[in-house]
Amino acid sequence: MDKVVEILSQPWPWYVAGPLIALIMGLLIYFGNTFGISSNFRTVCAMTIGGKQCSFFDFNWKDQIWNLVFLGGTVIGGFLASEYLSSDLPILLNEKTIKELVELKVYSPEDGINPTSLFNWETLFTLKGFLIFIVGGFLVGFGTRYAGGCTSGHAISGLSNLQLPSLIAVVGFFIGGLVMTYFLLPFILSL
């Protein structure tokens, strides 16, 4: 058992993770549902504020409870992985990436897989933190509903179904992502 935990605690290669993600999507389809995380944001709006104020949230959100349950499962999965399957090894990034991240002052080798210098409550109360957490989160929530899906709904499900709209959305994801990473992020991280 210890051996199994030890193996599972190593970082999983892409060719293991990708097909497993497809398996999750396949099972959700087999259960008669679709694979899309961001729909849950809309469901939460429908549950809380409701459809009276805004017709976009006037739908039977009870049909979406399964997706909220799935979402709750992902939180538990994150907890289990970090608690029982974490590895002490530093993340194996490209050396060039590390050099850039050091220059941007977001990288330290003991960080694990996320920059602890960014992902903390103190950062939230700075201009940089406001932009990353609040503006970043808002853009994700607005953009995903405007585009009708996020990485799971468009990049995985949509492209698997060979849908042209999803390809356009994914091209959009990359235009936005590249503009942010190359032009805006270096400035924002320097704040």
């Binding site: 957490f133 989160g137 492209l159 698997s160 936005g176 503009v179």
Partner: protein, 137 residues
């Protein structure tokens, strides 16, 4: 009881994305800088297997667990909503370093501050619902 299978799938999804480092801010940065194949490998191999799965579903008219024919509703083709919406999403994805799934998985991993972008994303979705008739689709 019927919801338990979704909970189990969600748990697995959370573990997979954690262990494949898809929830890593660094990996998203590296992907957008084209400095690693890792994220392209994850998404690419998921899509490849997904294409085969959906092709088989369509070819065999596979019935769902509940005996209904599986239909995958097509999305209506238009350019502005997917392109503009996609660009806005991409800006947020690269800034926060997390898309919606990883936001929740990170929350479970102990990064409690991620509750803030989750609430901001709900606000973003609400704002879209309010202004959607005024923006190009």
């Amino acid at each position: 009881m019927k919801f338990i299978k979704y909970l189990v799938l969600g748990v697995f999804f959370g573990i997979i994305l954690s262990k494949a480092e898809v929830i890593s801010w660094y990996r998203i940065y590296e992907m957008f800088k084209f400095q690693s194949f890792h994220m392209y490998g994850v998404i690419g191999s998921a899509v490849l297997v997904g294409i085969i799965f959906i092709a088989i579903v369509k070819k065999t008219n596979l019935k769902s667990l509940y005996g209904e024919t599986i239909v995958i509703p097509p999305k209506q083709l238009s350019i502005p909503r997917y392109l503009y919406g996609g660009i806005i999403f991409g800006l947020g994805w690269a800034l926060l370093g997390a898309c919606p799934g990883p936001m929740f998985i990170l929350l479970g991993s102990g990064y409690s501050v991620l509750i803030i972008p989750i609430l901001a994303a709900i606000l973003g979705t609400y704002t879209y619902g309010v202004v959607r008739d005024k923006i190009p689709h």
